[in-house]
Symmetry: D2
């Protein structure tokens, strides 16, 4: 019974169907009919003109965007626990050519305007210190918290006033939308986001993520950077088809709602043991070593987050028996 990561979940049947349906000859790279529909599909979804690029990983989506938003000799303000800092093997340094991640603090991997201001003001404005060029936030965060539209808006204002680009790591943007009930537009371009990754793999996809540009003038650069980084796959239609399947009838949102609901089930089972509020599809629980061992012996798979903390991640298919049994096991601790 796997609650280790949404990364490991199966692919949604509708995505599998779409992949199968894309199996006919068509133009290579992104000239095919599926790929050509992406700009329109996302522009409809966001309610503004965007440019959308499929890539096979979130690392690629985030770091290509960051490379376009931050020159090699400047820096990116982000949370100390951001995925780009902690879990991408230095990918931002590789894609940007050596730009610096400038780390901010804050509970639950969330950045407040105060924290961002403090980080910004720490930098002496001279040629000896790396000057920030961008701010990167993650919604939902690596700890399963969400930013509301008002919070992103405040950060967007902060960024704009200081001449910073605003990047959004949206590996779990679907969970954030499902959680807040706010509109995508109000969490992104209306409040100043320039570019974002839109995660699908954790949410029912197979190997297609989207890089969305609200600053559409960056599209030509991104197209070249994608190719140059080996992320312009030759049968791109199989990626585009996955994304289109998840956009159709808001399957992406339905999946995220299911994952969030499953997380709530777990949270409700052991409310007094939660490390922090459960707002998306991650549940951090305080346990003793013996309790962790006991859960494992019952067949539950999860991540040892740190001393006395374990993490469960739910996904679009986390329902039914396994979920119920885990809830019971947590309640019984």
């Amino acid at each position: 019974m796997r609650f280790f990561s949404d990364n490991a979940a199966p692919v949604h049947p509708k995505v599998m169907e779409a992949v199968a349906a894309a199996n006919r000859v068509d133009t290579a790279y992104d000239g095919d009919e599926w790929s050509q529909r992406l700009d329109g599909a996302f522009s409809d979804l966001f309610g503004t003109e965007v440019r959308a690029f499929w890539v096979p990983s979130g690392t690629a989506a985030n770091c290509l965007a960051l490379a376009a938003l931050c020159p090699p000799y400047r820096g990116i303000l982000c949370h100390r626990d951001a995925h780009i800092e902690v879990d991408e093997a230095g990918a931002p340094g590789f894609f940007t050519g050596g730009a610096k991640l400038m780390l901010l603090d804050g509970p639950g991997a969330k950045i407040s305007v105060d924290a961002a201001t403090a980080g910004f003001d720490l930098v002496r404005k001279d040629v000896h210190q790396v000057q920030p060029a961008a701010l990167s936030i993650t919604n939902a965060t690596e700890y399963g918290l969400v930013y509301r539209a008002g919070e992103v808006e405040a950060l967007g204002r902060f960024a704009k006033e200081r001449g910073l680009a605003l990047h959004l790591d949206g590996a779990r943007i679907a969970n954030a939308v499902a959680s807040t009930g706010e509109r995508l537009a109000d969490l992104t371009w209306r409040v100043g986001v320039d570019a974002m990754s839109f995660g699908f793999v954790k949410n029912g996809g197979m190997n297609a993520e989207a890089l969305i540009l609200f600053s559409t003038e960056l599209a030509d650069e991104i197209a070249v950077r994608r190719k140059r980084a080996g992320h312009l796959l030759s049968k791109g239609r199989f990626l585009a088809a996955q994304i289109l399947a998840l956009l159709e009838n808001d399957l992406w949102l339905e999946n995220a709602r299911a994952a969030n609901a499953a997380a709530q089930t777990l949270a409700n089972a052991a409310p007094q043991r939660l490390v922090q509020p459960v707002e998306a599809n991650e549940v951090f629980v305080r346990v003793s070593e013996a309790e962790a061992a006991s859960l494992r012996s019952q067949g539950f798979d999860f991540y040892d987050w740190g001393p006395g903390e374990i993490r469960f991640v739910t996904s679009w298919d986390s329902q039914g028996e396994a979920l119920g049994r885990l809830g019971e096991a947590l309640a019984a601790l």
Copy 2:
């Protein structure tokens, strides 16, 4: 009737089946059971211990290997028409951190020992000139010629004597094996190849290529570089499954034989118009502008290679009616 590129061909049904069969929960990244079988499968195939990594593109496979074989301050000898020089948007410069491609000449994109020696000797052995660290060859070449084992062996000896690593772009290695009838081992590690890409996408795959290391001590570095470049996909099992399906019962070789045979059909239809011998699955034909237009008006899709030259590429599914009609059309020119 599409003869534009093997890049655009459909995915082989057995690959589609394997992808569908991989759709269950398993460990993320490359910890799953499919990915874990790759080292063994390729070691069996090559008859020596190798390390194998799936990646979603040939550019990634080639350039990750080159980055491990050549430091940023040195160079890579390759043919002027090599894909890494001509068609990857500068990817080798990105992955290596600025290493230099040092261009060699030779008919049909093939490198002779003489040409390699000339290129090597052109470099003054001092600190002002970029010194080569690697030699990269492509088999089958970008023009559809193949290297025989003896030819690779001679280049391997040349490389070893000069302290150069030897890289093989094997986007169409299957076609080379099918064409020469030689054993994979005799085209690769036995004759000095350190690392290679093994192409599957052009040969019935969807979005999985393999990077094969014969210099297995590079494996840890490659694993990190793959992650850092955004090429460690989280549901890697879908890539590994494609590759395993193509290895099973030598489907890769069967597909390549079919593609090569289709190319021979075309070559035989217009032997006097061939720009160069047809040894793999590419056919370059001399035509007038009017002839090219006529072919196009008959519904054939192909690539305008240069003034008076067009290119047809066949693939694993290039048979039946379309092929026959193109053969007739070429014969009728």
Copy 3:
């Protein structure tokens, strides 16, 4: 008797005096009074507002400029024999983060508009091929030829029409001005040059070159890149003082005239043996192996350029006895 390179010549006495005079406490880096005068001094010299940066090498001056003019994912058109291609150990790749040098042909390392156009048109306008972003020329060229104002103007027009930045390697711009009698402005900003290196070390300086920006909006970026590359020296006044000494009373021009005149003396001694016209301070002479050996045995030091060709370079102090004796020796061949 050394005619190997102007690189090896002594420092002009007035430069030595200026260095000695700068030896008092002052602000570090480029806050000192000498450094602060550079912008003004060069703006006067060029007759327009420029930004000027000292750096300790021509490689730094050229490559910092190129990094600001060309993003990592594009290319720089330059001559096959350009110093940045041949003699800087891949520095452009390092400074730009992997941009590609795109090589042009032409006699005497000079680029014609036709050659530049051919090189530009060779590139397919798609995402697979590296697109040029800049054109780099060298005046005087590596073979001692000069561009006249009209020639640079034509190249400037070519560049502008195609959206390319124009970079000038001015390691020997002084010799070009001395040779053509044209005004600096007419060889640079008036005809479209965006940034240039202005060489002083080969012309009587010790270790100070200037990077001149006509596109002054790049100044902040260059300032950071200079620091980041380790080229913002802490006692910058010693570099600025050298440059100011060479600008004073046009000593830079006087020195270049002396070097050019010395080259003419040699050229006149053996006019029928010149490989190409002598327009600046380099003299390429056709000799047999025996003749080269004989010259060497007479104590003359020079560079073996290639089979049957030797190179003499004159400098600001190439006069008097040694020059006369070399002239006689050449005439006696």
Copy 4:
């Protein structure tokens, strides 16, 4: 009366003499007789075989070394206040091609084995997190503290056990030697240092620092990297001559002793106000805003370090009247 930085001090007269004496024709780059003597001179100084390279800045010396010690995809453990982190505009990221600085804490910018261990252990040993490849320490530190031989030895042992290279930023190594009375060998190669910068500019030099390799097998790589970064100056003899002058009769040590003694004079004038012990040539003093203003109005120049703290830096020429007056002013606070 300038106590702002040792960076801004005058050049020692013997260095000026050496520069003047080097003004004759000789081979370019580092082929001249002065440059050729460096390896021997430093090997004598350290009592072991080393390879020594002049470079024009400490940033270059440190970052070239780091690039050779740490591949782009790994990290460098260093103090949060290290110059390479705080004051080099991201130079390590540029020179290494994106390696990550991994920050350690500790009073006075000193790293303890405990702190290094904690930083090392924080990293999960998998492909997702950047793995450290090197440890960098600064002696004397940015806060004017020194490491004794035993302390470096312990860090050297730590590094060796974990497979880390050990880098020493020796911008003020002279002050550390003068302060501890320990032998250079015992602070460097005997205790595991692989490469170091040896600072001269802050200690009486003009624009020459040395990069010293104890791991001499890196010499060829460093030579190329130096060229490629624009730090192989063409008249290198003027840098080598400065260094040789400072090595002669241990002038480097004499200068450092003078600077340290001057710092002690200041420390003794206001012992109760010191932020931390004065062990080298930097004096951090607690003052109110009014006191700082008063000192400034008396003509003293210094650095505002932070709220309520100012920094004085002494240098080889900080003696005589100005020093005495500052001591009195501090005592009078």
